[in-house]
Symmetry: C2
Subunit: 319 residues, 2 copies
Amino acid sequence: MAVTIRDVALQAQVSVSTVSRALSAPGLVKEATRQRVLDVVAGLGYQPNRAARSLITGRTGNLGIVVPDLLNPFFPSVLRGVQTKAGEAGTSVFFCDSREDPDTEAELVRTMAAQVDGVVLCASLLSDDTIVELAAMTPLVLINRIVPGVSSVLMDSASGMDQVVAHLESLGHEDYTYLGGPAAAWSNGRRIQGLAGRARLLGSFEPNFNGGYAAAEQALGTGATALICYNDLIALGALAYLAAHDVKVPEQISVTGFDDILYATMCSPALTTVHMPTEAAGEVAVDLLASLLDGGPAEHRELPTTLVVRASTTRRPGA
Amino acid sequence: MAVTIRDVALQAQVSVSTVSRALSAPGLVKEATRQRVLDVVAGLGYQPNRAARSLITGRTGNLGIVVPDLLNPFFPSVLRGVQTKAGEAGTSVFFCDSREDPDTEAELVRTMAAQVDGVVLCASLLSDDTIVELAAMTPLVLINRIVPGVSSVLMDSASGMDQVVAHLESLGHEDYTYLGGPAAAWSNGRRIQGLAGRARLLGSFEPNFNGGYAAAEQALGTGATALICYNDLIALGALAYLAAHDVKVPEQISVTGFDDILYATMCSPALTTVHMPTEAAGEVAVDLLASLLDGGPAEHRELPTTLVVRASTTRRPGA
DNA sequence: TTGAAAGCGCTAACAA
DNA sequence: TTGTTAGCGCTTTCAA
C-alpha cells in the first residue's frame, strides 16, 4: 500500500494527530515541528488518502458539472472555466453530458450528488420543481437558468437579443424571423423575451447544425430579410442551407447567431453573434458553489453579453 | 446525515454484513433475505457511501482523463466516448485540460492518480520516460500515442496520411506542403512518417486556428498546389488566411485537414479531411483501463481512419 | 446462510 | 503545543 499518516508520524517522531494538524491546520503546530513533518512528508511523498479524510469530514473535495451537449463548443468552454477555478482550490471536477435529455440530466445530478460537494448545472432542461428538489439534495449552481432560491449565474440573453435587434434595425431591417431552440430551454424563452415581439417566431429546432439546416428551409418562405438564430450552431446550419440554395448572405439575407463559439469567426461569412462570457461563467459558478458550501445564501450573478458584428449582417436589400 | 448501512440492517432485521453482501455479493445471501434487504434499501433510498467503501476496497470507482485542449472539438468528442463507456459501469470521470503544457500534464496525472482507479491520457506531450513513470504510479491508457509497455489506443494517423497523399496524387498534385503541429506531439511525428518524404515540411505551428492562419502565410510562398494540415483547426485557420488574401480554395490551392471535427462539414469550402473515430477511441480506452484493473497486461488497439473527401480539394490547377 | 468484530486512513474531540 | 482515542461507513475475515 501507499504511505500513510502513521509512516509519517513514525519517521517524524510525532503523533498522527500532529501530522494531521501540520497539514490541515498549520497554526496549531509549533513551526519547528511543522517543518520537520513537512520534510518527512516530502521525503516519503505522502499524499493523504482522500477517502479516509472524506469519511470523517463529510467533504469530498470534488464537484460535478453536467452539460446538455459536449459537442457544442459552448460547453467545453464553460468546463474550462470551471476546471480553472476549481483547480486553484485543489478541487477535482466530474463531468457529464446529458445529451439534451431532461431525465438523463436529473439522473446524472442524483448520481453525482453522492460523491461531490456540489454540482454545476448548465443550461438545464429540467422543470423548476425538479431543480428545487435537486438543490435540496446537493449544493447546486445553475448556469443560464433562473430558479427562485437556487444560486445561478446568467449570461444576459435578453440584453444580447436586444442588441441584435437594435443592430438589425439600424441596418434597415423590419421583417425578421427567430429560429428558436428547444422549447424546454430556459434560454430560449429568455431570448424570445428579449425580442419583445419584434420578430416572427419559428421553431423549436434542435440546437445544432442539423436543426439550423432544417430551420432555414422553413424560414426561407417567410420573406424575412434577416434570420435571428437561437445559437451559433443553428446559425451555421442555416448558413449551410442558404449557401446550398444559392441565397447570398448577407446580400440577400442577414443571419445572426448567439454564443460566439470559435466557429463563428471561422465560417464564411463570419457570423455576427452575441458573445457569451463562458469561461468566466464557469469560474463564477465555482465561486458561488464555494460560498454555498461555506453556508452562504443562494446568490445570483449576471454577466454582460456583447454583440459582435461580423460579416453575416448588412443593410436590408433595397433599403 | 444520510441513511447508512446500519439503518438498513436495523429495519431489515439482519446484520450489517448481510446487507453488505446482499448488495455486493448477492450469491452469498438467501434469496428471501436478499429481497427483504433490497426492499428496505429502496424504501429508505439508501446509497452506499463511496468513501467508506473505497477506504476498504482500495478502489475509488472513478477514472480520470486529461486532454491538451478542451477547446479543440476533437477532445470533447473523446470525452464523450469515455463518459459513455464509464457510465455504463457506474464509474465517474474526472477531466482536466493541460493547455498544451507538458509540465501541467504530468502534474495533473499525478494529482489525479491519488483519487482514481486509472487515467486516460490523450495526445500526450510528455516524454516516453515520464509516461512510463506515470504508468508505474497508476493504471494508464494512452490515446494517440505509443509507449512500449503502456496500454494505448491509436487512431491510425499514418494510414490516414497515406490516404491523403494518395488522394492528392490522384488529383494530379505533385508539390505539397505539410503544415505541421507541435514538435512534441507524437501524432505529428506519426503523420510525417505517413507522408514518407513526399511533402515539403513546414512548422511547427500551434494546433489551432491562429496557428493555421500563420502557417498559411508561410506556405503561400512555397509554390505548393496543396496544403496538408496537421489538424482541422490548422486547416480552418489556413482557409481563413487564404480567403482573406483572395486565394481560391480549391481552385488555386487544395487544403486537407485531419480529425474531421464537426466544423469540417460546416466550413466553406467543406474540408477534405481524415475522419478519426474519437468517441470509439474513448470507449476503447475505458475498456483497456478496465482490463488493466482486472490485472490484465498492457494492450494496444488500433482504430482505422478514413479519408473524407469534401470540397476543399480538386485537380491541380492546369493539370 | 448469517453475525460479530476487526479494521481501512484519517480527523477531531478531549486530555495532558 | 502535543498525544490518546473514538469513531466516520463500509467490507471482510472468522466463527457459528
